[in-house]
Every structure is written in structure tokens, then in C-alpha cells.
């Protein structure tokens, strides 16, 4: 049966497909095309001059290589830390409470605005830093540069690696390792020749996800990179906000496109096909034997504890900063900063919650709708739709934000300054997580399951409701969760979209920080962490209530 025939037979599918295509054209294709046109068209004629100016400027070229270097280092470092945590959680037979502690420590950086650790870094290192000077007595330490940016980004993004690797490690049938052990291999040999090779695709996947996250992050380098280590996303931002050069900024952001797309394609079409282990949904409990020797177990635990303590330290410092008059000058207890954010900041909190609250269900719906259609229905342009839907997700936020700013300011489609534009940005940028989750879940559902249902006399409707829908519900919740977390914490794209009528907490935090209003910045950050924690806990509870197979796997997508 051809795609056209399906559309004729299924008007509802046809309507859904048309609506989705219209939305994708408006919010993905059109802004991106406008961005390209802005960079490549000069007074009506095609010109690569704008791009060439950027590519030949040696400072921008240096910033480009710096971005790649930072991305690679964050990828490697974050994957190592993530693997350390995942391996410890999956193989060290930890008591339940310790697993909870690890999960909480990992979740913390994931649910906070990306630059919160950067604030704490500024206080802890440097000539008078709490750690370098007060604790270690070092003088002349410097906080700005590659090292601190790297440390901050690793700490912020390693949870993505953890969430990618932990289900993988848990899914490796422990019998395979057990057999190797009983055949006389040492634990190290088992790890080296069995466990690690099985993890390679997961490691590669984690590396690429981290690389992409670092490539998109402009706030951390803005605060920590200093003048010796310029990176491209920050340069693009400064080009626009500082030098009033929209075209140059757009050109700079386009340069980022090449590595971003390369990584995305690699991740999607190479790594994801090389998963040796598929998640079966069978309860993959902990191995019935000791995978690691007691000494190694202690070492792993110590290493995890060290990282967890570092994270905890940074967040405690943040909480402390929100509760004292002026950190470093006057440490008297005060609730003044919270009073400020709940009076003057109330509008921005309301705006953010409204935007996140609307974007959340739309993003979840969009995810399962598009995921369901491209997996289960055949219609013309199905593959193209899947790829197009991933574009905003794959691009660094700076590019998306600039493209939206340029595309929607003037008629014919004038949306600048509206909440709709910010919501659309979040839905189409973070909804794809729900799409991926839906596709992954639907592919795992054996056709025979649906056939069996129909064979037993159930109609298509009943089959869909009783079989398919419950199976993809976790994807819906994953989509909800990701869109909500990002709506509360993202900044790279939406800093270009805030307006007189609609602003966002993250933008406010960054503004407060650059204005030395550290107390309100810290109080806002604490508030965001608390809100997101509560919402994620509710979603987690819902997932458990529906107890669908694959729920655990989908929870892990909250990181991506």
C-alpha cells in the first residue's frame, strides 16, 4: 500500500501530517532559511563575504578551535566521570540509600541553570578563592580559562553520560560476566574484555552528547573562559549584543553548524546502530556475584563520593549565597533576596512558569504525535519529516535563538516579543527528545503484540488504547519532563527572545550576576532547582504508576 493510499484512507492521519508539516515549516525550516539568507545574501545578491570575513579572522578561527578542544575535553572528561558513576551504581552492589544519594547528586546539575556551578567556581578559586586561598593558602591562582571552564562543564554535563551509560551497564546480562569469571578470568580481564567492549557504543554516544552540549553552552564560557580562551558561542553572542553586528553573529553561529551537524549525524546513524545490547525490559538486577574486588569497590566509592561532595559543596555555597546579605562582605543571615525575587521577580517567575507550563504538554504531545506517525504510518516524506524535526534539537541554541530573532521580528510573520515564540522555541528544540523516546519504544513493540490483540477480537481502537498507548506513555512523560526542565533552565536560545512582555528566570539570573546582585541570582537559582525537582518527582511518580515497560529506559532520556 503506498503512502498516498494511506492518506486517502485515513483523513485524520492526513490532517495531522499536514498540521505537523506546517508547524515544522514555520518553526524549523523558515527561521533557518532566513538565517542562511541573512548571512549569504548581501543587498540582493549571493555573497560569501560575510562568512569569509569570519573564516579569515584569526581570532575567530582560534575561537573555533578552542570550541572544538573544549568540546572534546568535556566529552572525554564527562564520559569518564559518568562511566565511573554508572559502573559504581550498576556493579558495586550498593545499598538502596546510597543509590538514592548518587541519583540525587547526579540530578542536581541536570536540573539547574547551566551556569550555576560557574558562579560557585568564581568564589572558590582565584587569588582570594574559598578553596585556593582560604583553604590551600595559594596566592596568585587564576580562575579564568580553560581549566575552570572545563571543570564547570564536566560537572554540569556528566549526568548526561551517567544517564546514557547506567541503563546500558544494567542491561548487560550479568550471566555473560559470570561465565567469564567462572571460566577463570580475573575480574580485571572480565572488565577489559567483556564489560568495556559491550559499553563502547554507549561511551561513544555519551561522548558525542557531551561534545554537543559543550558546543552549545555559551553561558559557562561567558563567565569563566576569560580573555585567554575565547570560544565561538560566546563570540557570536558578543558580536550581536556588543558590536551590534547581527550579520557577523549569524555568520559565526553558522560556523558552529558544521561540527554540530557532524556530531549529530555520527551519533544518530553510526553509534545508535552499533548498540550490542538491547534493552529487553527484563528486570536486569544486580549481578549475583562481586564484579569488583573490595579494594576496587572502595576506590570507586571514594571517587564517586569526591565528585558528589564537590557538587554538594557548590550547591551549598549557592544556597548560602542566597541567605546572606553579601557573600564575602556581610555574612549576616537574611531572607531579603527571597523577598526581592518574590516581589520584583514575581513577574518573571510567573512568565517562566506559564511558558514552561504551556510548552510542557505541547512538547509531550508533539513528541508522541510525530514519533507515532513516522514509525507506524507510511506517508510521503516520512523520513524527511523525522530528520527536519531533529534540526532545532541538533543545532546549538545560539543559532536557533538568532534565527528566531531574525525570522520573526518583521512581517509577514511577526512573533517577536510574544510568549508564543519562546514556547515554540522550547517545543521544537526539546520536543525531539519525546520523538526519539516514542520511536525507540514503538520499535521495541513486537508487531505480534498488536496482532494478538486484534486476533483476540479487539478492534483497532481498543488495541491502540489498551496496547499501544500505554506502551508509549513513558515517552510522553519523558517529553514532558525534558521540555519542562529545559524551559526552566535553558538560556542559549531564549536569551535572544525575551521581551518587554515576557522574560525568563535564567536570563534574570545571568543579568543579576553580571550586575553583582549575587544574592538574587543565587535565590533564583535555588528556586529553579526546587521547582524542577518537585515537577520531576511528580513525573517520576506518574511513570511508576503507569509502570510501563521501558519506563526506566525513558527516564534516562531526561538527560538527553
Amino acid at each position: 500500500m503506498t503512502g498516498h493510499a494511506v492518506l486517502r484512507r485515513d483523513p485524520a492521519v492526513a490532517v495531522a501530517v499536514v498540521v505537523l508539516w506546517l508547524l515544522l515549516a514555520l518553526f524549523v525550516v523558515y527561521p533557518f532559511a532566513t538565517l542562511l539568507a541573512r548571512v549569504l545574501v548581501d543587498r540582493g545578491s549571493f555573497s560569501v563575504e560575510g562568512l569569509a570575513t569570519v573564516l579569515t579572522d584569526r581570532h575567530q578561527v582560534r575561537a573555533f578551535w578552542n570550541s572544538l578542544l573544549l568540546g572534546v575535553l568535556v566529552g572525554v572528561g564527562g564520559t569518564i566521570v559518568g562511566f565511573l558513576f554508572a559502573f559504581t551504581a550498576a556493579r558495586c552492589r550498593l545499598p538502596r540509600w546510597l543509590l538514592t544519594v548518587i541519583d540525587a547528586a547526579v540530578l542536581l546539575p541536570l536540573v539547574s541553570p547551566p551556569f550555576t556551578t560557574a558562579i560557585a567556581m568564581i568564589f572558590s578559586f582565584g587569588p582570594r578563592g574559598l578553596i585556593t586561598y582560604e583553604l590551600l593558602g595559594l596566592k596568585g591562582a587564576t580562575v579564568y580559562g580553560l581549566a575552570s571552564t572545563l571543570a564547570s562543564e564536566v560537572m554540569t554535563y556528566f549526568p548526561i553520560a551517567y544517564l546514557t551509560l547506567r541503563p546500558l551497564l544494567a542491561a548487560i546480562d550479568s550471566n555473560v560476566e559470570g561465565m567469564a569469571l567462572s571460566l577463570g578470568a580475573s575480574r580485571w580481564r572480565v572488565f577489559r574484555t567483556v564489560t568495556l567492549p559491550l559499553c563502547v557504543p554507549g561511551l561513544a554516544n555519551a561522548f558525542l552528547l557531551l561534545f554537543a552540549a559543550s558546543l552549545a553552552d555559551f553561558a559557562t564560557p561567558l563567565i569563566l573562559a576569560g580573555n585567554q580562551f575565547p570560544v565561538l558561542p560566546t563570540q557570536a553572542y558578543l558580536q550581536i549584543t556588543g558590536l551590534f553586528d547581527l550579520r557577523g553573529g549569524a555568520a559565526l553561529s553558522l560556523v558552529l553548524l558544521v561540527p554540530a551537524l557532524a556530531v549529530f549525524l555520527l551519533q544518530r546513524y553510526w553509534v545508535s546502530r552499533r548498540y550490542y545490547v538491547t534493552v529487553t525490559g527484563k528486570g536486569a538486577g544486580q549481578a549475583p556475584f562481586d564484579s569488583v574486588s573490595p579494594a576496587i569497590r572502595a576506590a570507586l566509592l571514594a571517587a564517586c563520593a569526591f565528585v558528589a561532595l564537590a557538587i554538594l559543596y557548590f550547591y551549598v555555597l549557592l544556597l548560602y549565597a542566597s541567605l546572606v546579605v553579601a557573600l564575602g562582605a556581610n555574612h549576616a543571615f537574611t531572607l531579603q533576596h527571597y523577598r526581592v525575587i518574590f516581589t520584583e521577580g514575581l513577574k518573571v517567575i510567573g512568565d517562566t512558569l506559564i511558558i514552561a507550563g504551556i510548552a510542557m504538554p505541547l512538547g509531550g504531545l508533539y513528541g508522541i504525535l510525530l514519533g507515532y506517525l513516522v514509525t507506524k504510518k507510511s506517508f510521503p516524506g516520512r523520513r524527511t519529516m523525522e530528520v527536519v524535526s531533529m534540526v532545532n534539537y541538533a543545532l546549538p541554541g545560539t543559532i536557533v535563538g538568532i534565527a528566531y530573532l531574525i525570522a520573526f521580528n518583521d512581517p509577514p510573520i511577526e512573533l517577536a516579543g510574544t510568549a508564543l515564540l519562546i514556547i515554540a522555541c522550547y517545543v521544537f528544540r526539546y520536543g525531539p527528545t519525546g520523538i526519539r523516546a516514542t520511536i525507540a519504544l514503538l520499535q521495541q513493540i513486537d508487531k505480534s503484540l498488536e496482532e494478538a490483540s486484534q486476533g483476540l477480537g479487539a478492534g483497532t481502537g481498543t488495541t491502540f488504547r489498551r496496547i499501544t498507548l500505554p506502551l508509549i506513555l513513558p515517552a510522553f512523560f519523558a517529553g514532558l519532563g525534558v521540555v519542562f526542565i529545559r524551559s526552566m533552565t535553558a538560556i542559549s536560545a531564549t536569551i535572544f527572545l525575551v521581551s518587554l512582555s515576557w522574560s525568563l528566570i535564567t536570563v534574570k539570573i545571568l543579568e543579576n550576576m553580571t550586575e553583582l546582585s549575587l544574592g538574587p541570582a543565587a535565590a533564583f537559582s535555588v528556586l529553579v532547582v526546587v521547582i524542577v525537582f518537585v515537577v520531576i518527582a511528580i513525573i517520576g511518580r506518574l511513570l511508576r504508576v503507569f509502570r510501563a515497560p521501558g519506563a526506566a529506559q525513558v527516564t534516562s532520556m531526561l538527560g538527553g
Partner: protein
């Protein structure tokens, strides 16, 4: 339930949500829309006083001068605001080149000295803001130093990698600083850039915003820097141990402006805000809210403690015409020779 009916419903719900969201975007017409370059904690009390005095509500969002100018430029064909409020007048000069403003002369206009107003009324000054040296008291004590009293004092090796000041790509503070260096070197550009290159090793960080370095200096993470007096006095008021000093060769001051946007949707209320802000009605409130700007209007008295800080100092005005004509070239040279040597 039929799966396709379900799809239908889902699509319908999505459209309904989108329309609902669009409805949120509407905004009231009896308010004046403003981008404020002044930080919120100074702009907000001013706008509240304005509302109290006139009943007109100010709908505002804060951007740094570069961000605000980039916004207004991007929105040129379809302006979203009526008034650009605060920020050094060199930002307004850059805006004039883009054709962003509508001329307007408020009742106070004629009373202001020439350097506090654009000849054609494209902007008007609401305050004056001198630059100062600000150093960490503990750092000075530890190294047995006096507060720097000359531009050359900042070149001392003891400050190596310990000064923070603003980045000329984003900050009007930095541009005023660079033109100050030019003035004290008799506008000899090569000599001025020589000085700035010599100062470069002492710079720990060029910050995005003008006040970005005040907190690190307050904390002792940096030893000192060059800031606007409002930011420096604010740091001191928060309790950080900092000392404010002035170079004997002199240092520049920048006027803070206000301007009506060309094509503004509510020009009448916009003009009312400009009338109010350029008059003693607003500038008398500076002292009350501890905003340490020097009032631009001659009828407003300088607050005594601010007058004491400024007593006996050598402060000169940056020539707006000269700065406007040379700004881009000088900033580009700064990026090439000082920032990225």
C-alpha cells in the same frame, strides 16, 4: 476510541494551546514601553515614582547598553519600545548613526549645558557619571600600597594579572575609559595605545558589563579596576572593603541619556517620561534611593556625601563629537592591539 480520532483531537488541542498562548501576547496601551540600560534596582524606583506622579505605567526590561542598542536596531522597522532610558550617551551617538531616534526637546532642554544635550534633541542627558579607580583595601594593606593616584600607578608589577575592567566590545564604561586614556595622552593615539598595551599584562579579565569587575574587586579576587562611580559606591555601600581614588592626570565622565524612539507606538507618553526624567522631578530622587549619579539638571543639588568624594578631583567631559567620530575605529584598534595582541 479510534486512534485517528485521537490524532485529530491531539492536533486540535495543539492548535488551541497555540492560540491561547498567542492571546497572552497582547499588552496594554496606556503604558510606556522602555528598554532600561540602568540596572533594575535603580530604574525600578524611578519608574515607580513616575507612575506615582503621572499615573502612567512603565513597562520595562533591562539590557546592557550593547544589548539594548542591538535590540532597538534589530527592531528598527517595527519598534517595540517608546523610550531608551539610561546608558552612556556614546551609545545614543551610535544609535543616531542607525537612525533610531526621534528628535524631542523637553522643557528642561534649554536649561542644560551643551554637553548634556544633543544639538537637535536626539538625546538628552539625565545624569553624569565619572569614572573612578577602585581598589581592594586589604590588597593595598597587604602590599603596603597607597590607592593608585595616577594612571601610571596601575602599571606597577604588583597588579600583574589582578585588575578587572570592562570589555570595549560590550561596555560603554570601557569606551569612556579608552577615551579618557586618549585625553590624558593629548589625543596622541599611539601613545595612548602604548599605555593600554603596557597595562594589558595586569588585566586579569575584561568583563562583559561595566560593573562586572566590582564584585571580584570587592571580594579581593581582583585587586582593582576602573569603574563608573555609581558602581563603585554601590560596592562600597554593600560592605565590601574598597577604596575609591582618582588619577591626578584626570579621568573622563560620561553623561547618561534618554531618547525617544523613531516610530514609537506611544510617542505622547514617551515624551511625558522624557519631560519627567530630564527635570528635577526625577533627579531629586537620586539621593533618596542612594543612586550615586551626578544630576544633569543644574537645579538639582549634589548629594553631600557624593560631593565629598568628588571634591578636588580632576574630572573632564569626553568630547561627544570627537568620541562619536572615532569610536568604531578606536574600539576596533583596541580589539586588535590590546584585547588580542
Amino acid at each position: 476510541m479510534n486512534p485517528h480520532r485521537w490524532l485529530f483531537r491531539a492536533a486540535r488541542a495543539a492548535v488551541a494551546f497555540a492560540l491561547g498562548a498567542a492571546a497572552f501576547a497582547a499588552h496594554a496601551a496606556d503604558t510606556v514601553n522602555v528598554y532600561s540600560i540602568w540596572p533594575e534596582n535603580w530604574a525600578r524606583p524611578m519608574f515607580e515614582e513616575f507612575e506615582k506622579a503621572t499615573g502612567i505605567k512603565v513597562n520595562f526590561v533591562r539590557f546592557s547598553s550593547g544589548e539594548a542598542l542591538a535590540r532597538v536596531t534589530a527592531e528598527k522597522n517595527n519598534p517595540r519600545i517608546d523610550v531608551l532610558f539610561g546608558g552612556p550617551v556614546e551609545t545614543f551617538a551610535a544609535g543616531i548613526n542607525e537612525g533610531l531616534f526621534e528628535p524631542y526637546k523637553s522643557p528642561s532642554f534649554a536649561r542644560l549645558p551643551a554637553r548634556f544635550r544633543h544639538a537637535d534633541g536626539l538625546w538628552t542627558a539625565i545624569a553624569d557619571d565619572p569614572l573612578v579607580f577602585m581598589t581592594n583595601e586589604k590588597f593595598l594593606k597587604e602590599h603596603n600600597l597607597q590607592a593608585p593616584a595616577s594612571w601610571d600607578d596601575l602599571l606597577a608589577p604588583v597588579y600583574r594579572n589582578m585588575l578587572q575592567m570592562a570589555d570595549a566590545r560590550t561596555s560603554g564604561t570601557a569606551v569612556t575609559r579608552i577615551f579618557s586614556v586618549l585625553e590624558v595622552n593629548g589625543r596622541d593615539e599611539n601613545k595612548a595605545f602604548d599605555y593600554m598595551r603596557k597595562l594589558r599584562p595586569n588585566i586579569q579579565l575584561y568583563t562583559k558589563s561595566g560593573g562586572g569587575g566590582t564584585l571580584p574587586v570587592g571580594l579581593g579576587q581582583a585587586a582593582g579596576g576602573i569603574f563608573f562611580i555609581v558602581d563603585a559606591l554601590d560596592t562600597k555601600a554593600k560592605g565590601y572593603p574598597v577604596i575609591i581614588s582618582f588619577p591626578k592626570e584626570g579621568i573622563g565622565t560620561a553623561a547618561e541619556g534618554i531618547a525617544l524612539i523613531k516610530g514609537a507606538k506611544n510617542p505622547d507618553v514617551g515624551r511625558k517620561l522624557i519631560d519627567w526624567a530630564t527635570s528635577p522631578a526625577m533627579q531629586n530622587h537620586y539621593a533618596k534611593y542612594r543612586i550615586n549619579f551626578v544630576p544633569a539638571h543644574p537645579d538639582v543639588a549634589l548629594e553631600p556625601s557624593l560631593a565629598a568624594v568628588l571634591k578636588g578631583t580632576n574630572i573632564f567631559a569626553i568630547d561627544a563629537a570627537y568620541a562619536g567620530a572615532n569610536r568604531k575605529r578606536v574600539v576596533d584598534r583596541w580589539i586588535a592591539e590590546v584585547l588580542n595582541p
